[in-house]
């Protein structure tokens, strides 16, 4: 369970998070959606300790997220855009993260095989195509079998086959009771994957609940239209 209370964050004069209160239920796929600049990435980065919140608190499994990095052993993170050390091989990049996670880290090679990454693991990163690098980014999030996945636009830049593999993997992990927090602008993808929706608007939670309830509440059959309707109703904060 992720509990977020009164989370605030400003960058200079720009208030990005204005008191976010949120509970993310375990064993479900929760999508964080919202317009550009709504605070999605900042919220995720606060959870990962990459951004220091100005106020509020985040609890993960009951424990407050603070300066001790140990809690991140239970998180698999795929950033929206990742660059790796250009002169290391994909296998070496994997070994770097494995080494940082310690001897108890479990490697799940299945996704590497299914994404057809195996032949590229001995190639230096600078020789890999953009799509292959993105596959590596996503695979690294799943590689150590964490309990919580934080995936920022995980299928952006992937071909349809790889995108399907990643979506299948997300659903399979949910089936194992893992929690998935995902952001995406691809509504068809969210339609397929998500149990719960968190809609951020101007740094606040405008809606939180199941995708089905959102459809019912807005009277829309499609998630995209339901979200657009809520976003249109939400007044822009001055």
């Amino acid at each position: 369970m992720i509990e977020i209370r009164a989370l605030t964050k400003s960058f200079g004069a720009r208030e990005v998070l204005r008191g976010v209160d949120l509970c993310v239920r375990p064993g479900r796929v929760t999508a964080v959606v919202g317009s550009n600049g709504a605070g999605k990435t900042t919220l995720i980065k606060c959870l990962l300790g990459l951004v220091h919140p100005d106020g509020g608190e985040i609890r993960l499994g009951g424990a407050r997220v603070g300066s001790d990095p140990a809690y991140r052993a239970s998180i698999g993170y795929a950033p929206q855009m990742s660059r790796f050390p250009e002169n290391l091989t994909a296998r070496e990049v994997t070994n770097v993260l494995l080494g940082l996670r310690g001897p108890s880290a479990i490697i799940d090679w299945e996704l590497v095989e299914r994404l057809a990454l195996a032949p590229h693991m001995t190639s230096r990163v600078r020789t890999l195509s953009g799509g292959t690098r993105q596959k590596l980014t996503v695979a690294l999030a799943f590689l150590f079998a964490p309990n919580l996945y934080v995936l920022d636009e995980p299928t952006a830049g992937l071909d349809p086959a790889a995108s399907a593999v990643v979506k299948d993997k997300i659903l399979a992990e949910r089936g194992k009771g893992k929690t998935v927090l995902v952001t995406s602008h691809v509504m068809s993808e969210l339609e397929e994957l998500t149990d719960d929706i968190v809609l951020l608007s101007a740094g606040r939670v405008a809606y939180v609940g199941t995708a089905q309830k959102l459809r019912t509440f807005t009277g829309q059959r499609h998630l995209e239209r339901a979200i657009a309707l809520i976003m249109a109703r939400e007044p822009v904060c001055a």
Binding site: L50, P69, M81, S82, R83, E86, N87, L100, R101, L140
Partner: protein, 261 residues
């Protein structure tokens, strides 16, 4: 400590496989070899090489560190999303950078002097290599702090060049102009303080203690040596260089701990 070593190890492998580091070492190798071969005796070669080191090492260190930290930003984010402390990642990254750049100086200058420098110049050559390492520590630290402070990489690159130009080119000239303009005032103490305020001048004073070469002095170096004598001046300069090495590194570590990635 174990994690810091792991972080440093993978970054060292990455830098060592790039074309940049072998090129840096080859530059010093070639310059040292040419000066030893055609520059007369090893001491004269050292005088010329000192000027090269005092200009090139700070420039390479500050530019490399600035560019490296900016280009590694996304991977830094990914590593920080692992169970790794910020202090550990900073220490590993900084250690890797300093080790790689220092290796270029040690190999590039050390090998030719070891092979053909002769025993007479060995001490001064070792001091020159040590000064190269010290300037690497100082200016790599400054580059890291600059990259963390400045989001725009072009601006950071420009500021890095500006800092280098001020420290390596403008500083001594400005002091000379000031001292000439205020020649009727007692400037000995202010000039000593001015020397302590520039690590390149400090490195120059360290070399002065081992080479009798007035051409190297610069205005502040001459005042420093006059006031303290070679040995005492060198000891004070060495202590000040240690402080200079610590300041940017500690500043960078503090920025790294507080930064929003």
């Amino acid at each position: 400590m174990r994690l810091t070593a792991k972080v440093a190890a993978f970054q060292l492998v990455d830098v060592a496989r790039s074309r940049w580091l072998p090129g840096y070492a080859a530059f010093f190798l070639l310059a040292t070899e040419l000066l030893l071969r055609f520059g007369g005796d090893p001491t004269r070669a050292l005088v010329s090489l000192t000027t090269v080191v005092l200009f090139i090492v700070p420039l390479a260190a500050i530019v490399f560190a600035t560019v490296y930290v900016h280009s590694a930003r996304e991977f830094i984010e990914l590593v920080l999303a692992q169970p790794v402390g910020r202090g550990t990642l900073f220490a590993g990254t900084y250690a890797a950078m300093v080790t790689a750049l220092s290796a270029g100086v040690v190999v590039g200058i050390g090998i030719p002097f070891a092979l053909r420098g002769g025993a007479g110049a060995a001490g001064a050559a070792a001091v020159l290599v040590a000064m190269g390492v010290a300037l690497t520590v100082v200016f790599a630290g400054a580059g890291v702090a600059l990259a963390l402070r400045t989001e725009d990489r072009i601006r950071a690159f420009g500021l890095a060049l500006g800092i280098w130009a001020c420290a390596a080119l403008v500083y001594d000239a400005a002091l000379l102009v000031l001292a000439t303009a205020l020649a009727s005032y007692p400037l000995e103490r202010p000039l000593l303080v001015a020397t302590l305020a520039n690590p390149i001048d400090l490195a120059r004073v360290m070399m002065l203690a081992h080479l009798d070469a007035s051409a190297l002095m610069g205005y502040t170096g001459a005042a420093f040596t006059r006031a303290f004598g070679s040995a005492a001046g060198a000891a004070l300069a060495a202590a000040a260089l240690v402080v200079w090495g610590a300041i940017p590194a500690l500043l960078g570590a503090r920025m790294f701990r507080r930064k929003d990635f």
